[in-house]
Every structure is written in C-alpha cells, then in structure tokens.
Subunit: 333 residues, 2 copies
C-alpha cells in the first residue's frame, strides 16, 4: 500500500493557500497546567469544516478538460458542502449524494452552493454516486479514500507543527480516516516526537476496535449510525486504515454525554461552535486519561443543529472539566 | 492632541507577537454578493476578547522595576481579564475594579487569573482605581485612554490590511474608542481607501451623536448602561474622540433586537460565539444601509452568558439577513 508523503501535503498546502482559511491555534485558559491545550478551529473554514481542504486539493488536481464535466460526491454533509463550494468556485457542475439521516441544515447549505442533491439510504450512497458517474459523467471526489483528499486534510498537521513545533499530543476525530491519516503523515515528518491519537464516538468505535485488533473493522452502517456525531459514521478504507496502523499511536472513544458536554465547554469557555463530530477530540481531552504534555485538539467542524447547541450550553457538563489554568504562551503564528 | 502613529502600532505588533493570537479573517458564505463579508474573530484571543492586545502592549511598556509593584485596572470585564492575565504572565500582582453590573462570568474569569477584584458602582470605577494606585502603589492600565493601549488594539487593523489589502469597509464596535482609534490609524496608513465605520448600540449611542454634532458626547453612565452590550457602556476620552473625529468615516447604531439576532447569525451560520458587544458590527452589516464592497466586521469578544446564547440561537432573527452568497475567495493569510 502506497502511503501519502509529506511532499504531497506540502504541495497541497501551496494549492489551497488563499482559498482555505489558515486557522490559528487558540490556547484554552481552562486547561490543566500539565496538559496545556490549544484548539485547531476548523469550523472557521468557509463551509464550517475542514473538508474544504481535501476538496480544494482534489478538485485542483483534476485536469481542466475533465473538471469541466463536473464533480460528484457522496457525503454525510460537510464533504458534500465542500465539493459543492469548490465546484462553484471553478464554475463546474456538482452532484452531491447525501443520506436520509443527514441533518437538513447540511442539505440546505449544499443546495445553496448550486449543487444538485440526491438523497439515498446510508448503505446506498457509494453505489448511487458510482451510478451517477457512470450514467452522467463527471469525476467522483471521495470523502476520504483518495490520496489527494488525504493530502489536503494533512495540511492541518503542517500548520500545527509550524505553529507549535514542540507539540506532544494531537487529538483528531476519526471517521473514514482521511483526516487523521493526513495529519499523522504531517506530524510524523514535522514533529516526530508528538503522539497522534484518534478519537471516535463509542457508538461508532469501529476504528478503535480495529486498531486494537490489528485489522480493518467491519461494523455495520446501522451500528455506526447510532452516534449523535453524524460526521463520524464512516469506516476506514484500506488506504486510510494503512495510514492509521502505521502512523497513529492510539485510538480512543468517548460517550455521547461526553460529546455533548464538550460542545458546551467549547462554546462557553472557548467561544467556539463545534458540531458533535468536531467536539470528540475535546471530549477525549476532558474525560480520558491521555498522555500529558502540550496538546492540540482538532475541532473539525461546527455545523450543529441550533436546538442542540442551545441545549448543551445551558446543561451541566457530564463531569467537571480539568481544573487549573495554563497561561502565558500562545502558539507561534 | 498627539495622535498615535502607524509606527506605534507596528512596534506593538512586534511586542505582542506570540502572546496574542494572530486571528485570521473568516469569509461568510451567507453574505450578499455585492458586499462580501469577512469576520475578524477576536473572541479567539486567550481571554475571549481583543483587550489582550492593548493590555499586553501597555504592560510590556512599563519599566520592569515599576511593573513589579503591580498593575491596576478598572473595566466592565474583558479589559480586567486581559490585565489580570497579562499580570500573571509577568508574575506581578493585579487589582481589578469592576462594577456592580458586570456579568458574574466575567468576574469569575478575572479571579481565576489570580487578580484581586474590587466591585463598585459604575460611576465610581475610575476614582476607585485611582485611590488604589494612590494608597497601594502600582501602575494604572486604563481600558482605552492611553496611547499604548490604543496601539495594541490597532494591531487588528494592521492584520486586516495585511490579509485583505483591498478591503473597502471596516466595521468596529465603539465604546471608549480605543479599539476604533487604533484600527482606524492602521487602516488609514495601510488601506487608505477603506472606510472605517463605528457601530454602537442605540441605547449607548453617545459617540454616534457626538460624531454627528462634532463634539465629545456627555451621556450619563445610567443612560449608557441600558444596553445589553455590557462592553460598550463607556464613553470616549479626549484622546480617543480626537482619533474618531479625524480618522473615522461614520458611526452608526443598532437596536438591542438587532444585536441579539446578529449573535444568532454568528453562532449558527459562522460557527462563532460573540458576546453582545462583539456582535454589533455584524448587526450593522445585516440591518443598516452601509457602503457596498469588501467588508470586514470586527467581532471584538465572545464572553456571553450561556443562557443568552441559548436563547438567541433558537430565536428567529429580527429581520432576514442579507441574501445571496459570496464565494471563491478568502483573505490572504
């Protein structure tokens, strides 16, 4: 299995510069003294999630004549928005296959970019996208199982290492594995002493189980769909799982209550709106026994149902967040 | 009246680098096509507001022997937190005078940094701080009426001009005038064609009135305390008003309902938590007839009462936000 390289990621960074937001690391004053925490706020990207990085890199790499025929994507939401947004940028048509359990807020955001949206049951999304490509033409932009998509997501790791060269722990949400595969490739090259730890909802903890057992997981779509974290219901491909087994130090899980509490902490103590999928890394920081040291939690997206946001910001957290305060230093930027 | 200069601001930028977050400009896909909008998310700063910039610059400028004797500040909240945080950074004592109408969330945040907090009625805060300096020693760090504080806040304008050199409109919350005075100084020097427009709550619209009449306003403390925007209840000093009259193009006001609606739009469509004071610039973008063109709204802070946040994210906006979508370009970063 050919893994992506740091060169792929550096080329991607040059390709997406000026189109993706160069997000800062933001220090959390509420963090524990022995585990200072910075957030990487990817919800600040144009479509509210990191997916714009992979879509921009992958679509930039399609030859112009081919790109004109359009792009097709299947996605639980944010990747679809990212492909629709990027297609509009290039002036080419986009068809986005979403699933029946996709939040309406994400479907609305996709159609606003001028894309055609097709709704199918969760298990049918890949075959539906393949059929559209076969019958109508266009290029499929997969949500994670593609080296160009992974390299685009990996630019987050490049930026973390540039801003905090002595980072010790990087916490990354895991779904299909494109985000963590890309970030781990960059961190191994640029901050080799840092541990990269994946975080999943317990209810979609297939990769954590597979990582422990040393084989690609095979949880059913229905099992993975139980979590509130609607962006973390995918399962790794051969390509992404190869990156995870080779480059990632651990994969841990968090509960649904812990995810809700983390959204509340992020909104009320760090002024950041995270969707459930984006909050799992902070949930792991708050509620799991992780290695000490300078920690970065990747907040992968913020497209949350307003009613859920309202609910969690006024609820008491599931357990007390880490005490103490980390003061006096922001990342280089 | 000696105004601050672009050199003062560039020196401040060097002084605060690595301690304040270098915030990006984040594009708003929900903005109108003829008025693309970027946010400058200062709620991402360590204390959740831009005030860290001025406090860092002012305290860095105090000679070390003097600084050891401690710092004193009066503040409706965010400036107090900024001075407390910076004092802890330098290992010197801080005494913060707050007022009886300061939200508890801001008082708690200040004491967490190890500062001594003194609570007095709004009208007494300046005299109480002066008395502490007279009896206990230490250096007063005023919230806006000081060239070093203004130069620190002005670094926001430097960053806006660097990231979006062809910016056409900059919207800035106005209270004591230190933020807009600093930003306007930087914008005049680096993006001279851009209009700088101040925004106030109608209920604390003293500067808008003073700007129109050409004289420093004199609204009572009680009148200015009526607005929900607790960070915008101050009134300009001679120093800041001189900057406003010379460098600012207009000062407009927004209603309390418009401020609430803007907080909701920022949270649900831009994934950003703004406090009422931080949302007035976006409220003006949404609900006032402003010049067209590439617009930046400074989101000055995000220390909001969670109950208020919950209320506004589920409420319908006061009027429909601008339609259309602006796509395809982020600021340079």
């Amino acid at each position: 299995m050919q893994l992506i390289t740091i060169d792929d990621i550096e080329a991607a960074a040059a390709r997406i510069a000026g189109r993706a937001v160069r997000t800062p690391l933001t220090p959390c004053l509420w963090a524990a003294d022995d585990r200072p925490l910075w957030l990487k706020p990817e919800q600040l990207q144009p479509i509210g999630a990191f997916k714009i990085r992979g879509a921009l890199n992958a679509i930039a790499r399609i030859p112009e004549e081919t790109r004109k025929k359009g792009v097709v994507a299947y996605s639980s939401g944010n990747h679809g928005q990212a492909v629709a947004y990027t297609a509009k940028l290039y002036g080419v048509p986009a068809t986005i296959v979403v699933t029946t359990n996709t939040p309406q807020v994400k479907i609305d955001a996709t159609t606003r970019h001028g894309a055609t949206v097709v709704v199918v049951p969760p298990a049918d999304r890949e075959s539906a996208a393949a059929e559209i490509v076969a019958t109508q033409g266009g290029t499929l932009v997969p949500p994670f199982d593609h080296p160009d998509v992974m390299a685009g997501q990996g630019t987050i790791g490049l930026e973390i290492a540039a801003d905090l060269p002595d980072v010790e722990v990087v916490l990354v949400p895991v779904s299909g594995g494109g985000l963590i595969g890309g970030i781990a490739t960059a961190i191994r090259a640029k901050a080799p002493n840092a541990k990269v730890i994946g975080v999943e909802p317990e209810l979609a903890g297939d990769t954590a189980e597979g990582f422990r057992l040393g084989r690609k997981p095979d949880w059913s779509t229905d099992d993975r769909a139980r979590t509130i974290a609607d962006g973390l219901r995918s399962t790794p491909s051969d390509l992404t799982f190869a990156h995870i087994t080779k480059l990632v130090d651990d994969v841990v899980t968090v509960t649904e209550d812990e995810i809700r509490a983390a959204i509340g902490v992020l909104a009320t103590r760090s002024q950041q709106v995270a969707e459930p999928s984006g909050a799992v890394s902070t949930a792991a920081y708050l509620y799991r026994d992780l290695p000490a040291g300078r920690t970065v939690a990747v907040v992968s997206g913020g497209n949350i149902d307003p009613a859920l946001l309202a609910e969690v910001v006024t609820a008491a957290p599931a357990a007390a967040p880490a005490a103490g305060a980390s003061v006096g230093r922001t990342a280089r930027s």
